[in-house]
Amino acid sequence: MRYSMRGVAILLGSAMAAGLLTGCASSGAEEGGGELRILANITPVLTKQYYENLVQPWVAQNKGVKVTIEVPSAEDVQATLQQELASGDVPDIVASNLDPVVAPQLLAFPEEDWVLDTPLVQENKVGGKIWQVATGAQIQSLVFYNKKAFADAGIDGPPASLEEFTQDLKALKKAGYLPLQTAGEWVTGAQFAMLANPQLLGSGDFYAQRNAGTATFAASPYKNYLDAYAGWIADGLVDRDALGLKYQDSIDGFTSGKAATYVIGNWIVPSIDEAAPSFDVGVFAAPSLDGRPAGQLGGPAQPYSILQASKHKDLALSLVKYLVSDKTAVTASLASEGNFRQEHPYKGSPLNQQVAAIHDAAPRLVLGTSGPTIPGGFGDELNKQVQALYVGTAPAKAAAALDSWWDLNAG
């Protein structure tokens, strides 16, 4: 085969030229002048644009400071931060919930009023240190439902117990609806924790007992909920192929009216309102085993942390203080996801107010799948085991797998 060096030369030459033309444009921002980098949790609602708008008034007040919003380059904020810590090139601020494993790398917030006034500030200390401050609080053990579907199925009121919930799902199926909307990705396990955690952590700190070896998942309320979930799959009350769906698909599935119920945190309220479904949407607290109110999986909403390695700690503190205490900033943040904070009322939609009522009535808030006593990656593992139910893994086996995972990863 004949050919010349020209091919190689053309290849390299044009690549070089393209590099020269645009390469300079991509070399990073200038050092100095005060630049704050925020590594932010990006969702369909919390977009890059959202954060840019949120910090804009503070930037206008602090001339010469540039604020950059960084989108996670790895799967999520936690993994990205871990990479950045390893590389030594860290952001100044993190705008996301984090696993407490990184708490030693984060600045201790001063015990000043603006810090102590933030929601759940005492509950979220690690080793007595305030390592993150939240804008609001959120609750997640919520079941949103299609009121028209409930009427079609002849259901007169929201279920209180898991047993009643299952009966209602069966009635909804008869009425021609997909009874419960689920999805793949992280959604499957998250929904399970939303349903089951209030019961799991209802009578004492299960996670601490699990660490001490005095409790197992196999003999915990998780087992009951895994049994129920396996029954829903067997009876076709969830879509057997749901694991192929993305988070956004599940939102669309519910707002389009195909699915009758949807388990998700309160942050979904603005998305539902914006989708303006053709039916009335109601919401009830996740059903408990015995039908009595069991609490809510809940926690800090839109929290901020500052890296100890930040070169502009004062600026970072000033910006975070603005974000969690300025009236406009806090209200915008609360409204974006329908979160809560005392003495910060905002005009919410009717659905917002229903959720607020559940929030106010909840006997307690309980942890999700990450916390100071929980091994990192537990949420992933739970997700995997709940998804395994879809291929027919027995609930007892899934619960046992959680126990052996815990033993392998704790300590």
């Binding site: 091919g7 990205t80 030594g88 993305k246």
Partner: protein, 275 residues
């Protein structure tokens, strides 16, 4: 006759299987979400639209031009550096007679068996120590090191096929060994160089883990792969974003490939056989 028929059928099926995804990519980038979901293979009744592609090209999430610039710069720099460093080494090894030469060759080939993703965390520490973490030069050095095994493999095999008499003649004329290599031997190595350039260019262009971790989000520098990942992964159900961003990301590379296909595939088939 049946053999010809069979061959024809196989080729048609193969062409369909290989081309269908490209067809979907090329057409769906110009269709609305409803048209993509409703009839992914069809032509929309109300025609194609440029809206998605314009939105993707101007979106703040993915600076296509910047990403292409970075990637092109990486490809060029890694290729040049790789040839500069590996050429003389391969020549010295191919002409060497000592046991040390074989040992060095083995060491240089080591990287062939090491998945770069498995050593990227330690590499972070090497780059931190020499102050190049989070920088494009740091990434270029690492990627160059990753190209050395294949390149040295191709080059030594090729040099061994060049008669030693040529070197001797050059030395009698008073040329140094380095001079002999660059002036006499290197120009003869076109096929091997072409193969190496194609392989190394593709591996740098499609590299994802290394730029993602070594450049990180803090540098603000994206390659095409890390850029398109950031732009697409969060919105994977919105096909108007997915298809248009992907088309933008691959179109220049594909055009380049089709224009130069003779040299690219020819380069691969002619340089790879020695060895």
């Amino acid at each position: 006759m049946t053999a010809r028929l069979l061959r024809g059928v196989v080729l048609v099926v193969l062409a369909a299987v290989m081309a269908a995804p490209l067809y979907l990519l090329a057409t769906n980038a110009f269709k609305s979400q409803d048209d993509i979901v409703g009839s992914p293979f069809g032509v929309p009744a109300d025609g194609f639209t440029l809206d998605n592609i314009v939105r993707a090209a101007t979106s703040a999430d993915f600076n296509v031009l910047g990403a292409y610039g970075t990637t092109a710069l990486l490809v060029a720099a890694v290729n040049v550096l790789s040839i500069l460093v590996t050429g003389p080494a391969a020549y010295a090894i191919a002409r060497g007679t000592r046991r040390g030469h074989r040992l060095v060759l083995l060491v240089l080939l080591m990287g062939l068996f090491i998945p770069s993703q498995a050593i990227v965390i330690p590499v972070i520490y090497v780059l931190r120590t020499i102050g190049l973490m989070g920088t494009v030069p740091g990434l270029v050095l690492f990627q160059t090191a990753l190209t050395i095994p294949t390149t040295v493999f191709l080059f030594t095999a090729f040099v061994q096929s060049i008669p030693r008499e040529l070197d001797k003649a050059a030395r009698i004329d008073g040329a140094s060994r380095m001079g002999t290599f660059w002036r006499i031997i290197f120009p003869l190595m076109r096929p091997a160089v072409a193969t190496a350039v194609v392989l190394n260019s593709v591996s740098v262009w499609s590299d994802f883990v290394n730029p993602r971790i070594i450049l990180g989000p803090g540098s603000g520098v994206y390659t095409v792969t890390t850029g398109v990942f950031a732009a697409v992964s969060k919105y994977s159900t919105d096909f108007t974003i997915v298809y248009s961003n992907m088309l933008l990301a691959v179109a220049p590379a594909l055009v380049f490939y089709v224009l130069l296909q003779k040299r690219i595939i020819g380069g691969l088939t002619s340089g790879a056989v020695k060895g």
